[in-house]
């Protein structure tokens, strides 16, 4: 049960949301990602009421405005690194158009993002994604979430499998690229040590009325 009276994140801002497992993180992310609908109340994302949308409209909303990074195994094993990064452009016309407006082609923009995330090595790009290290896989996932500059980035424990150095480097790169794309970042983790990286910090157990 999740009952949050109010939670807002401004455009381009970053929010660290701390929550131990079982605190309703997945439910909250499902609500923001428009996979779930609230039983009561409203969710307004980018000025649109997600609760009032039909299933198809919510699918479209997610494809156009949301980039997601999971904890682990973010990539489709049968696609190359570049194809994984370009994947959202095949499901959202808006992100495709934005990407093409920014760069000459989808490949070009994917390469640019990968380069910014320090994955420019051409040899690396030719490898099957399953042969990349976890840190590299998470950065490819970040590039995929960022392509086409979606307004919202949702990262669900993206660093839990990384060691401390890689973790901090990943968060810095993510923040930097989110800022460049103008995306708001919602970073969810159980690890309070990560909190200082972000502009805003909240604890899910504090804002969830139902938990108190």
């Amino acid at each position: 049960m999740l009952n949050i009276p109010a939670l807002s994140v401004g455009q381009g801002e970053s929010l660290f949301l701390r929550g131990p497992s079982g605190s309703g993180k997945s439910t909250l992310l499902g609500l923001i990602g428009a996979v779930l609908t609230p039983d009561a109340g409203h969710i307004r994302v980018l000025g649109q009421d997600l609760g009032g949308m039909g299933g198809a409209a919510r699918d479209r909303f997610r494809a156009d405005h949301l980039g997601v990074i999971f904890q682990l195994f973010n990539l489709l094993p049968y696609l190359s690194v570049l194809e994984n990064v370009m994947l959202p452009c095949h499901f959202s016309t808006l992100r495709r158009q934005r990407t093409l407006a920014r760069a000459g082609s989808l490949d070009e923009e994917a390469l640019r993002l990968l380069e910014h995330l320090q994955l420019a090595d051409p040899q690396l790009l030719r490898r099957p994604v399953s042969q990349l290290s976890v840190g590299q896989q998470q950065r490819v996932a970040a590039a995929r979430a960022l392509i086409g500059s979606p307004e919202i980035l949702v990262a669900d424990e993206p660093t839990s499998a990384l060691d401390a150095d890689a973790r901090d480097a990943f968060i810095d790169l993510l923040l930097q690229e989110a800022g460049r794309a103008g995306s708001s970042l919602l970073f969810v983790s159980h690890d309070a040590a990560l909190a200082p990286h972000f502009e805003h910090r909240l604890d899910l157990t504090d804002i969830n009325v139902a938990a108190n």
Partner: protein, 417 residues
Amino acid sequence: MAILRLAWKSLLNRRGTAALTVLTIAISVMLLLGVEQIRSQARASFTNTVSGTDLIVGARSGQVQLLLYSVFHIGNASNNIDWQSYREIAAHPQVDWTIPISLGDSHRGFRVVGTSSALFDRFRYGRERTLVFEDGRPFADLHDAVIGAEVAQALGYSLGQRIVIAHGLGSTSFANHDDQPFQVVGILGSTGTPMDRSVLVSLEAIEAIHSGWASGIRLPGRSSAEPGGQDLTPEQITAFLVGLKSKVATFRLQRAINEYRKEPLQAILPGVALTELWSLMGVAERALLLVSGCAVLSGLAGMLTVLLSGLRERRREIAILRSVGARPWQLLLLLTSEAALLTLLGGLLGLVLVYAGLWILQPLAEQWAGLQLELLAPTLRQWMLLALVQGAGILVGLIPGWRAYRYSLADGMTIRI
């Protein structure tokens, strides 16, 4: 289109199981199309043989029986017809030509057909094709023989070969007409008809080698006729083929022959008799088709097993696709197109296998069954069967597709392992 490319790449990634699935489907499709191909070729081969003949006349029996023994050399005549009757019908004003056939002897397993030289001028098979000599000429002398292409090939005969005709059928006969050996003077080109497996001699020759015989044995003290010393006009023949001046007269002449007073005769229309034959064979054909259809179903069931068991491992993939914006119906499409692609590849490979198989079977089928298989383009019926298999593959693919759809709704973007 993006979904189709994903389906293709996902299959390539699992090319081991995908290839096995494709092979299973291909083999079942090969069976299905093979049965259909051989069925249609057997029919075409039968139809080709009698395509130029308007009526077949023989002693009264079943029309299928008459067709089979007179033209296809399957089974035996129940009775012969009198030479006089043949002469009278051949003289009918509507009759353009006749080819008499006298059966009953053999040479090393091949039928000896007593006939007239009209055969070489008048016999038509396939699309208006006439008999062509590969080598040599028609029979002219009493002891001349013309052999079919297959006889020449199987026995290794060439022109000038001397052959002895055995009384009766079967490859080993103790009653040989060895006092009157024949000489091969002509070898026919291959026709794909029973002509290929025949030894052709004149009616007079048949009469000559049987004079001095009664009831299938040589009478002691009597030698066979000396050529020229005796009237060799045949007394009886087995059957004869009729060509008419105008097709319009077919039924009228058929009725006239069936009502012939001097002996019980029967005239049949080859096409009608063939239709009856097909309806007799239809049961066996349908059974074969059913069995091969079941093989296709089991192939598709194998594909379903592979797709469904793979789906558990692919729940993560479904969640990832959903997170990058794939709609639930697109996931249904992804899984269904994988099934469709597997079926399509299986169908195409099956088609290739059918033709490879026919190519390999060609010489065997001709040798053992006298069936001339040709590598013809797939018939409309075969394309329809392929389309049916494809449709069934897509329907089967809807099952994992539907599962994927359900998963995508239930899991959302949550990765469950």
